[in-house]
């Protein structure tokens, strides 16, 4: 498949320090971007950070491809008892989680402060 590599368009920043990783996403996450996002997340999770925070306040749209990528990331974190926290979901993106009944599976927070508390 000729994947549209838009990973640079959706990963705004990546900060890793000690056992903590903070990834900020932006834009629209669809089938074209999901593979690249998966690679980026898995590369970070392979380092086994205790906490992976994904800031999604600037993510305007996400479909089930993006959701599948996050599920994979969550499963990878859980293998070593790591935490994957999603922060700042817009209602539009949260709706996708709710329809898929994954809103109770993920750790969702409105702000970074809440996630770090």
């Amino acid at each position: 498949m000729n994947q549209h590599d838009c990973i640079d368009d959706i990963v705004k920043s990546v900060d890793t320090k000690d056992d903590f990783a903070r990834i900020e996403l932006t834009g629209e996450i669809d089938m074209g971007c999901a593979m690249g996002l998966r690679s980026t997340l898995m590369e970070i999770i392979q380092q086994r950070p205790t906490t992976v925070m994904i800031i999604m306040s600037e993510v305007d749209f996400m479909d089930s491809s993006g959701l599948a990528t996050l599920v994979e990331a969550l499963q990878a974190c859980r293998k070593y008892q790591g935490h994957l926290k999603l922060i700042g979901l817009t209602q539009r993106v949260r709706n996708v989680f709710e329809i898929s009944r994954l809103d109770t599976i993920f750790e969702l927070f409105d702000t970074e402060e809440e996630a770090l508390a």
């Binding site: 498949m1 000729n2 089938m31 089930s64 599948a68 994979e72 329809i99 898929s100």
Partner: protein, 157 residues
């Protein structure tokens, strides 16, 4: 929730969009679907949902009907159906591919109790749209997906 079609039923605002089955063009399709829905007078919340449902359908076509081949075509047709006796309109979206005809009985949502990546596109579509029907083209080439969403007239322009 249905809209009984009578002799006075009108089908208006027909819009037809053709895109390549390339993930690169999904963003274009989303923008087009959003504009068409808004033009048809659909409110923002319903528009967002319709955009997601169509996105999921297109993704499934790319992945399953075309096996990832990006040089194939997908047709999307929009209609607004109005019946004078009803307090609602029907937004009909017909998505047509020219790829492999997946057995219709295999096009279904999986068990959501199992937490795993993927396989929830059909569930999302069925959750959002009021009606969702897959049928094969009689010429043996490709599949149609008819999506229908009923919207109250008060929520349209």
């Amino acid at each position: 929730m249905t809209l009984t079609k009578t002799a006075d039923t009108k089908k208006i605002c027909q819009t037809w969009l053709r895109i390549m089955a390339n993930p690169r063009y999904l963003a274009i399709a989303r923008t087009a679907v959003k504009r068409v829905a808004l033009e048809l007078g659909i409110n923002t919340d319903s528009t967002d949902s319709i955009v997601l449902a169509v996105e999921e359908a297109l993704t499934n076509v790319i992945r399953h009907a075309y096996g990832g081949h990006c040089d194939e075509l997908i047709d999307i047709n929009f209609n607004k159906v109005i019946s004078p006796d009803s307090d609602r309109v029907a937004i009909e979206i017909l998505i047509r591919d020219y790829g492999n005809q997946v057995p219709l009985e295999k096009i279904k949502s999986r068990d959501l109790e199992e937490i795993m990546p993927g396989g929830i596109g059909v569930h999302i579509i069925q959750s959002i749209m009021d009606e969702c029907e897959f049928y094969h083209s009689e010429d043996g080439i490709g599949t149609f997906l008819q999506l229908t969403k009923y919207v109250k007239l008060e929520n349209t322009k």
